[in-house]
């Protein structure tokens, strides 16, 4: 350890305003830098020029906005990199000068307005007091009990009685007690977050004699593997890697030597506590899943689903929940920075509002990536060297996996569970990784997310059958870390690599200016061994660590009969109002219906130049599109993507079908091909352990996903489940996002989402019958009616795909809202082409449901009903496109304006 005394340099700058923070005035940035570089003052002056202002008088009062101790500040890290000083020797704080001391209320208001919850802290200090406060900021003296035998309950860890028993037995076999670090490792590895215990549980529905042994295995995995056996050339990797991987097929239907990886993550708990940090790490985190797929895939697209508390919600809500405005502002900014600063386009998304999301906002972050098929499999061997590269290890994200598996506002929660994303660091990592992969320097790569090094090295060690690592010399952002914390820290932007060419890899790392730690080696010992300061911290058999966790056994007393009765009650209480044009105008200004244009425009949706179908299209760029079409020039091919969710449908089974239908229609209308498609399932559920009905719905959802796989031959290749979205009193709606991705025909086939010219016939393909639960007699009848519905949808999808392949469809759109008029209106926006209706407006204003429904405009030379007379009762000619857009002008302006308010209000 060097104890060289470093000079302190202090500068004040005029700060760059964050435009969507309502900065109350010009703030200053204080840079405090420790360095003995004699040129340092000159460098800073060159860098900031006229933005440098003189230091304030000692007694000047400021409100300081500071990063919390242990949380990394990406801005300070960037400056440290440029100035070539260690980032722990540099800090940057924001400050606002105040003339009179703030009252408590004013201070609270400023906290709400001007700092990121859980990441930053506000302090009202004079400049002199600030400087002396900094002097006192030292690494706290903490005693490290990482090596001591402890009881888990004494360090705030929870295990079920069965888990505890299994661990005690295993310890006895080893002839010793587990130490602190090992307990922490078990808590993380066996957390709901990492082990998906509920999804893998034995579930019995006692009222219906249904026994399900693991939803994951029996409903998703087994049906998926049956499909992959039929098409091994298409489905290249399922379930065992960080993302599902499919081969890409060119428009001629030939397999290429490129593959596509897809993954969606949830980041609900962190976003509830720190909306910006939670959302940005969600996006950047799912990119790492893609980077850690095979030997590294390049992320090429994001899509995000955000569920927020309704802005006008004023009824009872959790007392500790942040305000809906703060959540929305932070999450949107997090999604923006996470995608834009990574150079990965955000190609589509959904925003859903419901009062229930007050307890937790939902942030689903999805990403697609591409890689050559030859890099789909990892192939590490014993003796390969392990590296962790990218950011240094810090105190951020400790116990994140453990915490997100519990009620987030429980007593033992501490701010350090939240992380901060630095997309720039990860972008640099990505550039390096792609070159390292292409030079065949990697034998395995995986990301560091929940569980940090313990998880990444733990996962990789299972590939060879063991690993030994040493934490003595890893780079730290923060000196006070305990040994177990180094192992489990969830600091962002770190990847773990295995290589059989360590020296070449180090040379390349240095060329790319990527920081790294050499960790140790993979082996075949059957054990994970972690040493530090010449002492063993962890010494566990992989079997104990990964395979001993006992299966959970769950029971639900809910039943189909109860569900049907509950639904009847809900329906009876609901007033079905019919719309007229005036109420339509009100509806399109409501949060559910208003334009998403201004929200999506803040996300770069076309960087990389691949996004041929953008979220909004037409000459006006105002018509929302269906799905995305992404060019993969590397394979002379295209990828289509769609997603759907319908948590507000009270008929649960119907809601699931709607989610799938929405996703599949978007995929097809972007020219995606059914035979090349695969699905993702992403669950956010209220705790099924605490609610019978939620558990019953969870089980039924598994059954329906299985039916979808079997009916369409489209397996769910990757998924994620977040199961604790509730507190003691409030719970979210059961929310399942389904996404579809796969190879597509290309832009010269895809119909537009907008009317292209006037005088064309508009057909309405009416929804298929819309009742499932209420029409069914029993659970088994519900399952069989669902199967029938899926068959009907399949017939429609196949016909749509045929029309698209023959270029018969000029424009097409699904219904995004329950009334057809909304979809016609959105089709009009693109080129300001209106429509006339054969039967007047009334029918288009009736709520009809959306399952299987479309608006279609065909090539005028093609008459669909003479080709398909069997469709005459469902494919209805409703009108024609017309040059009468001025009748819609008023709707347009309210729809767009209301969407703008969602961003900002």
């Amino acid at each position: 350890m060097t104890t060289e005394k470093l000079n302190t340099h202090i500068f004040a700058l005029k700060a760059n305003k964050v435009p969507d923070w309502k900065d109350p005035g010009q703030s200053l940035s204080f840079i405090i830098l420790k360095s003995n570089d004699k040129e340092m003052d000159k460098k800073i002056k060159n860098l900031f020029g006229k933005d440098i202002v003189s230091l304030p008088a000692a007694e000047s009062q400021f409100l300081f906005r500071c990063y919390m101790p242990g949380v990394s500040n990406p801005v300070a890290e960037s400056l440290a990199r440029v100035l070539k000083v260690p980032s722990k020797n540099l800090r940057i704080d924001q400050a606002l000068e105040i003339t009179t001391p703030l009252s408590d209320t004013e201070f609270k208001n400023m906290e709400a307005l001007w700092r990121e919850p859980a990441i930053e802290t506000l302090r009202s200090l004079s400049f002199a007091d600030y400087l002396s406060w900094l002097e006192k900021l030292r690494t706290p003296e903490r005693s490290d009990n990482s090596f001591d035998a402890v009881k888990p309950e004494d360090i705030g860890l929870e295990f079920s009685p069965e888990e505890r028993q299994a661990l005690d037995d295993a310890a006895q076999k080893e002839g010793r007690s587990w130490n602190r670090a090992e307990w922490e490792l078990f808590a993380q590895t066996w957390s709901e977050h990492c082990k998906h215990k509920i999804f893998n549980a034995e579930i019995s529905l006692t009222e219906e004699n249904v026994e399900t042994n693991s939803i994951f295995k029996s409903k998703l995995r087994v049906p998926a593997l049956a499909e992959t056996e039929k098409k091994p050339e298409l489905f290249l990797s399922l379930f065992h890697d960080n993302a599902g991987v499919l081969r890409i097929y060119n428009p001629a239907g030939e397999g290429t030597d490129m593959a596509i990886a897809a993954k969606m993550e949830t980041h609900n708990s962190p976003s509830a506590i720190s909306p910006y940090g939670g959302a940005s790490t969600g996006v950047v985190g799912v990119h790492r899943d893609i980077l850690g797929t095979g030997l590294g895939a390049l992320p090429v697209a994001n899509w995000d689903v955000l569920c927020f508390e309704s802005p006008e919600h004023s009824a009872d809500r959790p007392a500790t929940a942040l305000s809906p405005e703060i959540i929305r502002r932070g999450v949107l900014r997090g999604i923006q920075d996470g995608g834009n600063q990574s150079g990965i386009p955000t190609v589509q998304g959904s925003v859903v509002f419901d009062p229930s999301y007050a307890v937790k906002p939902l942030v689903f972050a999805g990403a697609l990536g591409i890689l050559p098929t030859k890099y789909v499999n990892k192939h590490p061997k014993g003796g390969d060297t392990l590296f962790v590269i990218g950011g240094a290890t810090g105190a951020d994200g400790l116990r994140g996996a453990v915490m997100s598996s519990r009620d987030i506002r429980s007593e033992d929660f501490s701010g350090s569970i939240v992380q901060v994303a630095n997309p720039y660091t990860q972008r640099c990592l990505t550039d390096f990784l792609m070159e390292a992969r292409d030079k065949d320097l990697l034998t395995a790569v995986t990301d560091n997310g929940a569980g940090g090094l313990a998880s990444s090295v733990g996962e990789m060690s299972t590939l060879t059958g063991g690993a030994t690592i040493d934490l003595s010399n890893i780079r730290l952002k923060f000196d006070g870390l305990l040994e177990w914390e180094k192992l489990l820290s969830e600091s962002q932007e770190r990847m773990t690599l295995a290589t059989d060419k360590p020296e070449e890899l180090k040379t390349l790392l240095k060329q790319w200016r990527i920081e790294f730690d050499e960790l140790g080696t993979l082996n075949t010992s059957g054990r994970l061994v972690v040493t530090t300061q010449n002492k063993k911290l962890i010494d566990l058999s992989l079997e104990v660590l990964h395979d001993l966790c006992p299966q959970m056994k769950l029971k639900s007393f809910w039943s189909f009969e109860k569900e049907k009765a509950a639904l009847q009650e809900t329906r009876a209480a609901k007033k079905e109002e019919s719309l007229d044009l005036k109420s339509f105008n009100t509806y399109i200004q409501s949060p559910d219906w208003a334009s998403r244009e201004k929200i999506l425009r803040r996300f770069d949706h076309e960087v990389q130049g691949r996004t041929l179908r953008k979220p909004f299209a037409g000459a006006t760029q105002e018509s929302p599109t269906e799905g995305s079409l992404i060019e993969i020039p590397e394979a002379k091919s295209y990828i289509a993507l769609g997603h759907g969710l319908c948590p507000k449908e009270d008929d649960f089974a119907l809601g699931l079908l709607n989610s799938f239908d929405e996703a599949m229609k978007r995929y097809l209308l972007s020219s995606g091909q059914l035979k090349f498609a695969a699905l993702l399932d992403n669950y956010s559920w209220p705790d099924p352990l605490k609610n019978d009905r939620s558990l019953w719905k969870l089980e039924l959802s598994g059954e329906i996903l299985k039916l979808i796989t079997q009916c369409f031959g489209t397996p769910f290749v990757s998924g994620k489940d977040s199961m604790k979205n509730n507190d003691a009193k409030f719970r979210i709606l059961e929310t399942l996002v389904i996404s579809v991705f796969g190879s597509a025909r290309g832009p010269e086939y895809a119909p537009t989402s907008f009317f292209t010219k006037s005088g064309l016939k508009i057909y309405n393909w009416q929804p298929t019958p819309q009742e499932l639960t209420l029409k069914a007699e029993s659970r088994s009848d519900l399952v069989s009616k669902t199967t029938d519905q899926l068959q009907k949808l399949k017939t429609r999808y196949e016909l749509i795909e045929k029309w698209i392949s023959e270029k018969k469809l000029i424009s097409a759109k699904d219904y995004s809202a329950l009334v057809p008029l909304k979809s016609l209106f959105e089709m009009s926006l693109g080129r300001k082409i209106g429509f006339t209706l054969n039967e007047g407006l009334e029918k288009q204003l009736q709520k009809q449901g959306t399952l299987g429904a479309f608006h279609l405009v065909f090539d005028p030379a093609f008459d669909p009903l003479s080709e398909h007379p069997e469709l005459k009762n469902e494919l209805i000619l409703v009108g024609s496109t017309a040059d009468n857009f001025e009748t819609l002008k008023e709707f347009r302006s309210s729809y767009i304006k209301a969407g703008e308010n969602l961003l900002w209000a």
Partner: protein
């Protein structure tokens, strides 16, 4: 597609630059030869790269988020490039510079256009945040109209005291405005025998007509596409002696 007057192009990448691939694609499509210069390597060994630069070559700084725009867009990368006297050396070689979006911000932060600034957008009546939208443009230099996406948060160009020989290269044409002086979307400047261009919108994206958000396969390929497929980069040929 090129007219036989192809040029040698060096495209910087790394350190948060994002748009290098689509830029390389369109420039190669137009017959130019391109090579990447990885910034981390360039910054550690500048002479190795600069020795390969010849008179008339172009160095491109593509769009992206170098250093995540921290402490002001373009500023930290401009500082690093100034530390190795990169721009001086490019001019000494009589080579040319072109920055797009974040690349333009780097050139501005490096002082190559004099006292001009690229500040946060100033959208009239709505939040002045990052926005991705296609906009109509007109280049007085090339006397042509273009339709490209503007994708930036800090594109409000303030022409306080531009350096001598700085001219408007391109301007926003329709109602879309980010508050720039005279709706200026790009600048061009002669420095000795070198040309420096800064362009805010992303001209590199239009390597195929389907990129246009108004594209429909039923429309004949827009007649303007043939022209704009060369697009703004047509000037590369015109610049040859």
């Amino acid at each position: 597609m090129g007219l036989g007057t192809s040029v040698h192009i060096k495209i910087l990448r790394g350190e948060g630059i994002e748009c290098e691939n689509e830029l390389k694609r369109i420039l190669e499509q137009q017959g130019h030869s391109c090579e990447y210069w990885e910034l981390p390597r360039l910054l550690q060994d500048p002479e190795h790269y600069l020795n390969r630069l010849n008179k008339g070559d172009w160095v491109f700084l593509p769009g992206g988020f170098s250093f995540a725009d921290h402490l002001g867009s373009g500023r930290l990368l401009a500082f690093e490039l100034n530390e190795i006297k990169f721009f001086d050396k490019v001019f000494l070689k009589e080579a040319n510079l072109w920055g797009i979006c974040n690349g333009f911000q780097v050139l501005v932060a490096a002082g190559l256009f004099g006292d001009v600034e690229l500040k946060h957008n100033e959208f009239p009546g709505r939040p002045s945040i990052f926005e991705d939208k296609w906009v109509k443009l007109y280049s007085p230099t090339l006397r042509e109209e273009y339709f490209y996406p503007a994708r930036h948060g800090e594109g409000c160009l303030k022409l306080n005291r531009p350096a001598p020989n700085t001219e408007c290269f391109i301007r926003y044409l329709d109602s879309w405005t980010n508050g720039s002086d005279d709706n200026t979307a790009g600048l061009i400047r002669k420095v000795g025998k070198s040309t420096v261009i800064g362009l805010m919108p992303h001209g590199e994206i239009l390597s195929r007509p389907e990129q246009n958000p108004d594209y429909s396969f039923t429309d004949s390929i827009p007649s303007h596409f043939k022209k704009t497929s060369q697009g703004i980069f047509k000037i590369l040929e015109g610049e040859q002696p």
